[in-house]
Amino acid sequence: MLVARGVHKRYGREEVLKGIDLEVAAGEVLCLIGPSGSGKSTFLRCINHLERIDAGRIVVDGETVGYREHGGRLWELRERDACRQRASIGMVFQRFNLFPHMTALQNIIEAPMRVRGEPRTHATERARALLERVGLADKADAYPSRLSGGQQQRVAIARALAMQPKLMLFDEPTSALDPELVDDVLDVMRGLAEDGMTMVVVTHEMAFARDAGDRVAFLDGGLVVEQGPPAQVLAQPRHERTRAFLARVLGTGAAR
């Protein structure tokens, strides 16, 4: 479903991604872990072309993201095509980014209606079903300011799902939440994983990575240092840097 080969990205003089190689099969959940500044979020934003890449390529469902191959070089796509690609890749952000001037329901129907031209009644029906699925059916007419962080994030997940994406990207979805609200969101994400959604999750929640992840990749300094099944990467890391990172994050050298 997702293939990234040799992805490089620079911000000015500083190279943030130094050649990322990753693959995610359909229905697989890949968790990206690593210290801040390692490029995890940047890489995630490259997957749906919110950020440009300087070299390499990212292919989602057989189509190169953000660029068109022509004459042996990659040319940036026109906005219309980039939008079409982004519409089938869902993204959930650390700070939710709900539209504050719209209710939860309006947040969810906005893109299907305006981007795909779906009729309002149909979009509303599907939106209510999605709200039900994330456990917020009674909050359809609430404005984001009236919702807790966990509720806002669940609405954000429903909003992304409304576009029926092939791939869901999560950028530290629970980092901005109070601890007691984290589980509600992780439960929704676990449910998605069980339903077979292809997911790439940047997270610090090692328990989630261990339980729901099919593979874990450790990024550091713009490169994938180590990747494999959670049981291996988290419990028996092969590289020193992975061990050091996990020791800091977990307090011991292994996932509890």
């Binding site: 504050p100 906005e110 404005y143």
Partner: protein, 267 residues
């Protein structure tokens, strides 16, 4: 236990300062009211004179037209400033620099004397095409646009970047995101300074009197140059300007309150 009475802090010096200011204000008002050089009857007579009311109407028309021109052009300029094209950005920046860097009075004089620059515009005689009224609207409108461009740009920049991220991630084009998500949120930040701009515009219209723009001040000056009652006519104009700016301020306050209540994020 018995409730003990609480005595608030006494502020004798604050009372003294307040008393002094009140007395001074009263003395000023009385001295103006009792001033033998002011012909109060004349003020009353001209307050609602037809010529004055016609001038007042023109002031309002000028302000509204200039606001419409200014705000539409201002939004366009703001979008240009935020665009990916350096040419558009520089052009908009240059426009703003030029129009904000020169006095409005000078701009009005230039437009008022446009015929000296081009005595024909296409098939038209400039003097017939660019009347004092048209010159006033153009000058005020273009000037307003430069200030509104900065206000709109500031409003758009104030919207959290995450909003653009989320919109684009859902597959919206930049234009759709701007129209449905960014600008509506920017409006909350734009409205107070935009309201202030309009109030300034109401007062700035008085400058068109130098090209005989037909506004309230022009009318007051025409009358006072004939009957020499300068202060009286200036008081007439002052009362009207105060009336329209105060009403506008009230309207702005109500509008801001209404916007804040519509659930735009601050509970």
């Amino acid at each position: 236990m018995e409730a003990v009475e609480v005595v608030p802090l006494r502020r004798p010096w604050l009372w003294l300062a307040s008393a002094i200011v009140a007395v001074a204000a009263a003395a000023l008002a009385v001295s103006i009211w009792r001033n033998p050089h002011i012909d109060h009857a004349a003020v009353a007579r001209f307050q609602f004179a037809p010529a004055i009311l016609a001038g007042l109407r023109m002031t309002l028309v000028l302000a509204l037209l200039a606001a419409v021109v200014g705000w539409c052009l201002g939004v366009l300029l703001a979008v240009m400033r935020l665009s990916a094209s350096p040419v558009l950005r520089i052009a908009a920046g240059a426009y703003t620099w030029l129009l904000r860097g020169t006095p409005l009075l000078v701009q009005i004089l230039i437009w008022g004397n446009f015929a000296l620059l081009f005595d024909r515009i296409g098939p038209f005689d400039t003097n017939k095409l660019i009347t004092p009224f048209v010159a006033s609207v153009i000058a005020l409108g273009l000037n307003e646009a430069a200030y509104m461009a900065e206000v709109v740009r500031g409003g758009v920049l104030a919207v959290d970047r995450g909003q653009a991220d989320a919109s684009l991630a859902l597959g919206m084009s930049k234009a759709l995101a701007m129209r449905r998500i960014i600008l509506p949120q920017a409006l909350r930040v734009i409205l107070p300074p935009a309201g202030n701009q309009f109030i300034s515009l109401l007062k700035a219209t008085s400058l068109v009197s130098v090209i005989a723009g037909g506004d309230l001040l022009t009318a007051a000056e025409n009358i006072s140059s004939a009957n020499l009652k300068t202060i009286e006519l200036m008081l007439v104009a002052t009362f009207w300007y105060l009336a329209i700016t105060t009403l506008t301020s009230l309207g702005q306050y109500v509008l801001e309150r209404r916007l804040a209540r519509s659930g735009t994020g601050i509970a």
